[in-house]
């Protein structure tokens, strides 16, 4: 038996390790290479971890993500010019999903931007795009009174995602270990507040990538193991488990969230990916504006629900009923929550309407598929 889908190890490059690596080893994690990092792919069972996040909560180590601080009097104006969305007008304590585009309107990265203060923003980029995002932001900062700093090496990121997440944080607050500057109960979705954990600064954001309620906690690497341990211990009686990247991928897929390198890339325009809303065309200028509109014939991202149990996977062909190729799968899995295979795919515009009957070529067999609305799963 061989595994046909695991990419070859990147030879000769020293892997990077999370500040939580020893904790994961002790917890029995299996590791995978992700953008040059050795990160937990699963601890015991990725299905169990997936279900735990939907029913209780999961703890994720996301310390490989890139954190870029943008500060200075022109910070808002700079981000408006550098990104597809308008960031200057969001209130302090708010977060916004945004895109960093090439001059040609392709996607360099998708980002979450937090406004921490009037002149302070935190831009969170994908691990694999760390240098591309940082370099482009630094380049575009020219002429603005702003500093752009890559703080990734000084930042650990722990996410707790699932219906029990708030209760677990409340226990840490009651135990006088976590001290948010304002009540956690008032922190709504896509907001961020500052505080301390064991007297060390922590950012508490109500954001995530699983389709569940949850939090992302940014703090210094040296205190991250203590926070992880505290969350794990407080969470265990509630059914909270550590969760690896395998479950994170099936969770985000069910939630219809794009993954850079799969649904998003340099040759993808935002509107093709269903992200037209992220692009603020009311701004008179921003990097990529002139070419951000895709051609009318450009393929668009759709959700597919498949029959049977066999998953459609990235790069499999999507065909119409006559067998003519009309698209390509970008992500797919047997949905643990729904019990049938789901996939995201780019298809020709005339095959993209919800309800369209298509097929996916799963290693030589055409599996019937129907275009469905995204997300596949929405929490009740």
């Amino acid at each position: 038996m061989t595994d046909a889908t695991v990419p070859p190890a990147s030879d000769g490059v020293e892997p990077r390790y999370s500040p939580l690596h020893d904790v994961h080893v002790a917890a029995g994690a299996s590791f995978t290479d992700f953008a040059g990092w050795q990160m937990p792919v699963r601890y015991s069972s990725d299905l169990a971890e997936h279900h735990a996040v939907r029913q209780a909560a999961g703890l994720f180590d996301l310390s490989h993500m890139a954190e870029i601080a943008v500060s200075g009097p022109d910070a808002g104006a700079f981000l408006d010019a550098a990104l597809a969305g308008t960031l200057s007008t969001i209130a302090v304590g708010r977060a916004k999903y945004s895109l960093l585009l090439t001059a040609g309107g392709g996607i360099v990265d998708d980002l979450v931007v937090y406004r921490l203060d009037e002149h302070d923003f935190l831009v969170v980029a994908n691990a694999g795009n760390r240098s591309a995002a940082f370099d482009l932001l630094a380049h575009r900062a020219d002429g603005f009174d702003v500093t752009v700093d890559d703080e990734s090496d000084d930042t650990a990121l722990i996410a707790i995602q699932g219906p029990e997440a708030e209760g677990v944080l409340d226990e840490l607050i009651t135990a006088d270990r976590l001290a948010p500057d304002s009540p956690l109960s008032e922190l709504r979705y896509y907001r961020v507040l500052q505080g301390t954990f064991d007297d060390a600064p922590v950012l508490i954001a109500r954001t995530g990538y699983t389709g569940e309620d949850g939090f992302e906690l940014y703090l210094a690497p040296d205190v991250a193991p203590a926070l992880w341990q505290a969350l794990a211990e407080a969470g265990a009686p509630r059914g909270v488990v550590p969760a690896g990247l395998a479950s994170r991928d099936t969770l985000r897929l069910e939630a219809g969230m794009p993954l850079y390198g799969h649904e998003l890339g340099l040759h993808t325009k935002p509107a093709q990916a269903g992200l037209g809303r992220v692009v603020d065309m009311k701004k008179s200028s921003f990097a990529g504006r002139d070419h951000v509109e895709p051609e009318a014939s450009a393929r668009v991202l759709v959700g597919l629900a498949l029959e049977g149990k066999r998953a459609a996977r990235a790069d499999y062909a999507v065909v119409d009923p006559s067998g003519t190729p009309v698209g390509v799968v970008t992500s797919g899995a047997l949905s643990p929550t729904l019990g049938h295979p789901v996939a995201m795919a780019y298809v020709d515009p005339d095959s993209a309407a919800v309800g369209t009957t298509l097929g996916v070529d799963v290693r030589g067999t055409t599996i019937p598929a129907t275009v469905v609305a995204l997300p596949f799963y929405k929490r009740s």
Binding site: M1, T2, A4, T5, V41, L47, T250, K309, A333, L334
Partner: protein, 124 residues
């Protein structure tokens, strides 16, 4: 619990229990762990003739697809319907209820690995 030293192994992470001219085949715990949770198993039809080294089935986990290679030349005598219905048996009992196929061997036994040799292979 199966005595793992009585089994033979392949470099493709299959195990074989050889009894007369019948070989029972599954994948090892190492392979099951590497795959992650198995969610779909595709096995060859009973009666089909298989050739050593050829792909005869698939084992899919949430994350990846593994190919099942025929370790020996022969005819498929029986397949494990239970594992088709409950693919998680591959994870929970790789050497027991998670067996995949029984093959009536019709050729010479190819070179296979002993338990020690297999463990050494996976220890790298």
């Amino acid at each position: 619990m199966t005595d793992l030293t009585t089994l033979k192994y392949t470099a493709e992470h299959e195990w074989l229990l050889i009894e007369g001219d019948t070989a029972t085949v599954g994948i090892t715990d190492y392979a099951a762990d590497k795959l992650g949770d198995v969610v779909y198993v595709d096995l060859p039809a009973v009666g089909s003739e298989i050739e050593a080294g050829k792909v005869v089935g698939e084992i899919e986990s949430t994350k990846s697809v593994g190919e099942l290679f025929a370790p020996v030349l022969g005819t498929v005598l029986e397949i494990n319907d239970a594992v088709v219905d409950s693919p998680d048996l591959v994870n929970s009992s790789p050497f027991g209820n998670g067996w995949l196929v029984k093959i009536t061997m019709s050729g010479d036994l190819p070179a296979l690995l002993s338990r020690d040799e297999y463990v050494a292979l996976t220890a790298e």
